[in-house]
Amino acid sequence: MKSWLTTTDHKRIGLLYFFTAFAFFLIGGIEALVIRAQLAQPNGHLVTAETYNQLFTMHGTTMVFLALMPLSASFFNYIVPLQIGARDVAFPRLNAFSYWVFLLGGLFLNASWFVGPLFHAGVLNVAPDGGWFGYANLTERQFSPGPNIDFWLLGLQILGISSLAAGFNFIVTILNLRAPGMKMMRVPAFTWMTLVTQFLVITAFPVITVALVFLMFDRFFGTHFYVSQAGATPILWQHLFWLFGHPEVYILILPAMGIVSEVLPTFARKPLFGYTVVVYSGILIGFMGWGVWSHHMFSVGLGPIADSVFSATTMLIAVPTGVKIFNWIATLWGGDIRGTTALHFAVGFIAMFIIGGLSGVTHASPPADLQQTDTYYVVAHIHYVLFGGTIMGLFAGIYYWWPKMTGRLLSEALGKWHFWLQFVGMNLAFFPMHLIGLLGMPRRIYTYSPELGVSDLNLLSTIGAFLIALSIFVFVVNIVRTRRRGQQAGNDPWGGATLEWSISSPPPVYNFSVIPTVANRLPRWKTEHHEPMRDPPATPPAPIHVPGGSWWPMLAALGLPILALAPLTHTLWLAFVGVAVLLGGIYLWAFEPFEV
């Protein structure tokens, strides 16, 4: 147990991220099921308006920050060092710190569900309720007097630190810790997409931090950053939020795109078609993603020139995105495709992302978008790209790399059930939403009138949601069953081309007994240019030093929620304690003898 609390091993941290994120995914999923149960009929009264507003806020916030990002992070952690032939990340303790901050931030945010009585309110009363996007000026103290928004803005600031720390860590790891011979254009596509993602993280998160700090100051110290009577504008929040928010959606999708770029070649037994283009389009998307933010604001009245510019940049970014899809199809074309579960999910990603991408193109046109934005049409869009896209991509990664991480294969039979239930479920849940939105149902409403004529479609959507839940249940059964009884995977159950398949499953603590020298992009395959590499020997020629664990990352991490409690509970001395714990932890960490 202690070894898990003090671990600085990227593989263990990856597993910690995975299970924690998956737990939050289940929580976010339950929130979604309650939402869908409420909306199954018009004028539903399963939950009150107040509860519903907390549910959709927490669903969005949880899924984005506590499920999707950390699930991706679990792969950054476990797989990236293996793919580049490294023994660990550049800063193992910083890595541990990122994880503990994530866990504590997630707990802080979700504690709000239960601690209502501490704030003279009921249980289920003080969870964040301003939407995951928290638009000012609804979030000002005047219109949201309770602690709900405080939980939200403080929780997000804690989580931001986790992501930033990981961002710095993985940038240095990928740029600096590559095995000899692994030039950047020999780095696997997943690691490349991870690198672009981390650059987006370290540049986008400071912007939302500033937005949240302004909100915090408005709510706690009486400033007027978003108050129109003082000459300010609530639109400033939207600009800052979406300057972060749009890169954020690329942060959410690029890792999954990277996973798909690994899974397809392995199971088609063909190299990734257009690797260079796939990499460069990822980089281009990273840059261009900064130029589209106001396409979330077409109804704000920015003026026809601004609307036209952002419409154009948004359409432009569809090009590098589309290019990837064509390259993936070309990877499959002419291949020898083995229909494993991982491949099913990777193909599912492509199929669903095409739909989500195309609905995105309809959003790119402001006059059309003005009928779509803030309705169920855009809810359809986001779920096609984030569920049909990111989540399917992540499951592809799970089925692909689970054997490497645990040494056992997941059941293919159960995996196929999982896939098809999820595929059917998600289309049933989200496709009708396109129509529901166009028929006039706005989003973020706890109930709707039967007169709208969308009752049947909503019921259909709810059934789909529960089908998704069933599929996840099947997945959980799969994990539990194969834990003890799963087939042993061996080093390389799939015939992979990249370095992680050259070592045991799970890998030894030092990863590679001998750091390989890499001569090409597909080291473990035989191609027309080269023979496959020789895998590292099972045991190292000389003992390999592996750094031990450390308590200080966790201790330092603890300082953050303590600090956050200070404004939440209006207790100044807590801030000092929090800062002291943080700085103390960092001090001990900085001067601890720790050799990588």
Binding site: N169, N176, T203, P206, H224, F225, P547, L583, E592
Partner: protein, 199 residues
């Protein structure tokens, strides 16, 4: 924690790009901080001239006083350069002196901020007064917090030097400290220009 400790400088490790890991991480951090300050400065600029009530910048900002503060911070960067040079050549006597001087000038800068902010409050400009108040204080306050962290960092190094635990082998640490300190200085130049000089 359970292994024989060798204070083995990470700089001796081979890296793919030849750059020390910590230095690279720090440059990434500086890149991130640039976005932070850009957001704060942009907000200041967007809200410039939109305060509904005074006091207004031209009534309150004391350019001569702040110019001296700015000069002080610039000089502290010079001290930092000298500190690094001393540590790199193993001259810990001067290393300690210059580190301390850097921290001292940083403290003087902070003292100047305290005086300035107190003055503003007396003249009726607080966080809550108007848009100039909130954007100004949050921007310069964030910068001041960064300076404070820097001063603590420098003093920590200075104490370790006094204890004989800082040597030329730690030059990379001092270099990174310098990177931070110079960055904080550059940010101040930008703030001084945007807020004080261009009105």
């Amino acid at each position: 924690m359970t292994h024989a400790a060798v204070a083995h400088s990470a700089a001796a490790h081979h890296t793919s790009l030849g750059l020390d890991n910590r230095k690279m991480a720090f440059w990434a951090f500086i890149g991130s901080e640039c976005l932070l300050f850009t957001s704060l400065i942009s907000t200041y600029l967007v809200y410039k001239g939109r305060s509904v009530v005074g006091p207004y910048p031209h009534e309150i900002l004391n350019i001569p006083f702040t110019s001296v503060s700015t000069f002080d911070l610039l000089m502290s960067s010079l001290m930092m350069v000298l500190a690094l040079a001393a540590v790199q050549r193993g001259d810990m006597k001067w290393g300690k002196i210059w580190l301390f001087c850097t921290a001292l000038l940083g403290l003087v800068f902070l003292g100047g901020q305290v005086i300035e902010f107190t003055e503003f409050v007396h003249k009726g400009l607080t966080l809550q007064t108007n848009l100039f108040g909130c954007t100004f204080f949050v921007l310069t306050g964030t910068h001041g917090a960064h300076v404070t962290v820097g001063v603590l960092w420098l003093l920590t190094l200075w104490v370790r030097a006094l204890q004989g635990k800082l040597t030329s082998a730690n030059a990379m640490t001092v270099e990174i400290t310098g990177l931070y300190w110079h960055f904080v200085d550059v940010v101040w130049i930008v703030i001084f220009t945007v807020v004080y000089l261009i009105q």
